[in-house]
């Protein structure tokens, strides 16, 4: 009960901090609109309304992913700069309970990215979206947010030990757009890429969002997305103690 309360309070305070940062706020407002604009221009050339709808959901999830992948790493880096990382480690809570709400807060901002992209497409490019299963669509978004938070959490655990690892967050941003089928269907990619795509929750989250919006059956995709997200969290929790011990041995917690 106390752990759940910690998760809820920490999530809310992290969310508050993200929303109060003028630079983060500006980036979060502007960034997804660039993705959307690029995607709409590229796919409008194809002259197929279905392709454009496909692209608009892809661009929306791109924004969500970018928000998580780049900020999960920099969030830990910021804790170092602020001098709060050491304070967090000296508290008696399991460190994963401290990290998880941070990445969950970042993933929540991703919901805005998704909404902003879809509205941008609607009003600027005239892409009319009809959501076939609104409830399942909402669930698919929630599941995707949770799985992104799980993946961000796994990243963040490694960022605690390796100071420069936040760069990896940026590195993972673009390949995931391609590998997880945000912009082009997975069938366009070489066969050897498919196992990598299947191991990444964003692939299934993306598919669940599209299926629920376009009238398919999103539940298997949603299940895979949540299962993988949970898997990332379990792995993260298991390695947290080892990573923290390594950081305490190397003395890297106080380094910025």
């Amino acid at each position: 009960m106390s752990s759940l309360r910690l998760l809820a309070v920490s999530w809310w305070l992290q969310f508050k901090m993200i929303m109060r940062s003028p630079f983060d706020g500006f980036g979060n407002v502007i960034y997804p609109l660039f993705f959307a604009t690029t995607a709409f221009f590229v796919f409008r050339a194809g002259d197929s309304p279905r392709t454009l709808i496909y692209a608009s959901f892809g661009a929306a999830v791109m924004g969500m992913w970018s928000s998580v992948s780049t900020s999960a790493g920099s969030a830990m880096q910021r804790e170092r700069w602020w001098g709060t990382l050491e304070l967090l480690v000296t508290t008696p809570r399991h460190f994963s309970l401290i990290l998880l709400p941070t990445t969950l807060g970042l993933a929540t901002v991703g919901i805005y990215n998704l909404a902003a992209t879809l509205l941008w497409g609607r009003f600027l490019f005239g892409v009319h979206l009809t959501i076939a299963h609104p409830l399942l669509f909402a669930l698919a978004i929630l599941g995707t947010v949770l799985s992104f938070a799980g993946l961000g959490f796994l990243f963040a655990v490694s960022f605690v030990r390796f100071r420069a690892a936040w760069v990896l967050g940026n590195f993972f941003e673009y390949p995931v757009w391609l590998i997880c089928g945000f912009l082009v269907p997975l069938s366009f990619l070489p066969d050897w890429v498919h196992p990598i795509s299947w191991a990444l929750a964003p692939t299934w989250g993306m598919s669940a969002i599209r299926e629920s919006a376009l009238g398919g059956s999103p539940l298997p995709d949603l299940g895979a997305c949540l299962g993988l997200g949970l898997g990332y969290i379990v792995i993260g929790v298991l390695v947290t103690d080892r990573v923290l011990r390594a950081a305490r041995v190397s003395g890297s917690l106080s380094l910025t």
Binding site: S2, R5, L6, V9, S10, L13, K16, M17, R20, S21, W82, G83, T84, E86, L87, L88, V89, T90, T91, P92, R93, I98, R245, R248, V249, S250, G251, L253, S254
Partner: protein
């Protein structure tokens, strides 16, 4: 049972030199120190920058794993029982870092109250009490980014006390504060031992250690060079005397020559407005004023005085050895 116990505690860091030909180098930050702090005692770890104070404190609060020796807090091993130790200690460090600037002071405390597992029903009352104690009542709902350095420091103290820890580690808590702010923080520290807390304080301010600490260990280059009450340490140099010479620009070579004089225990230079003050500690019954002035040829010399040694002189003598 001692509240804090360090036995032959050591810590080395690995660092690298060179860009293309990288060479690993080991730096010994703490070289086998031992001390014990009794329950309810305010113990000072005193030393210059880089002496190993912060490294020692970080090993005791479980942030660093020692490379040798052992340490126990309230009988708990800081490596094997780290989580138990963390429940029972508080940690406060000096400076402006360690605060979530975009959150209010209240939210900062609320977050750490959750992290320390302060029961939900008690949180509000506890936070209110601490805001009152550190004098932040009325400003708690403002964002911490607008707080002065002193206010942030007091917020740190409140955070360190949220879970009512038995032992508090204060790492240079008055660093960078103006005299009024520092006095307020010192008053809060003094009230902690009155409330029965055990406190380990690191500082390089002599008068702070003198005013607050029951006992002091002087640490220099990773080793403890003296330990005792402030009075014991003063007695260590009370036999000699101190010559202070006001100079305007003193060359390093002149300092070296003064240092080499027979009967000189320690030499330090203090900056005072436009002038510098050369502080020379001498052995008992030695008159060196003329010899010192003889080596300062070429420098403009102002006021010259002779006085009894203070705790600061004891400290300078110890860390200069």
């Amino acid at each position: 049972m001692a509240a804090i116990e360090a036995a032959d505690l050591r810590r080395t860091y690995k660092t690298h030199t060179g860009t293309f030909r990288r060479r690993a180098k080991e730096i010994e930050a703490v070289r086998g120190i031992s001390f014990a702090v009794e329950p309810g005692e305010l113990f000072g770890l005193l030393g210059p920058n880089g002496a190993g104070k912060t490294t020692t404190i970080k090993m005791l609060i479980t942030l660093l794993i020692p490379t040798g020796g052992s340490a126990r807090v309230l009988g708990l091993d800081v490596v094997r029982q780290a989580r138990e130790v963390r429940k029972r200690i508080g940690y406060v460090f000096g400076g402006e870092r360690g605060v979530y600037e975009r959150l209010s002071g209240y939210d900062n405390l609320r977050y750490f109250a959750e992290l320390y597992g302060v029961p939900a029903r008690e949180q509000k009352r506890r936070i209110e009490e601490l805001l009152e104690l550190v004098g932040l009542k009325g400003r708690e709902h403002e964002r911490a980014e607008g707080y002065s350095r002193g206010m942030k420091q007091r917020l740190h103290v409140a955070r360190g006390l949220l879970h009512d820890p038995e032992v508090l580690f204060l790492d240079e808590p008055t660093m960078g504060l103006d005299p009024v702010g520092a006095r307020e923080v010192r008053a809060t520290i003094a009230s902690l031992t009155e409330a029965g807390k055990t406190v380990l304080l690191t500082t390089h301010y002599m008068f702070e250690a003198d005013a607050l600490c029951d006992r002091i260990a002087v640490i220099s280059k990773g080793s403890i060079v003296a330990e005792g009450t402030p009075l014991d340490l003063k007695r260590g140099v009370a036999q000699g005397s101190v010559v202070e010479v006001e100079v305007f620009g003193v060359a390093d070579e002149a300092l070296e020559r003064v240092r080499a004089l027979g009967g000189v225990v320690a030499v330090a230079v203090e900056e005072r407005e436009q002038a510098q003050v050369l502080v020379v500690q001498t052995e008992p019954d030695v008159e060196l004023t003329q010899a010192i002035l003889g080596h300062l040829n070429g420098s403009d010399v102002g006021r010259i005085s002779r006085r009894e040694p203070t705790l600061e002189d004891a400290y300078v003598a110890l860390v200069s050895e």
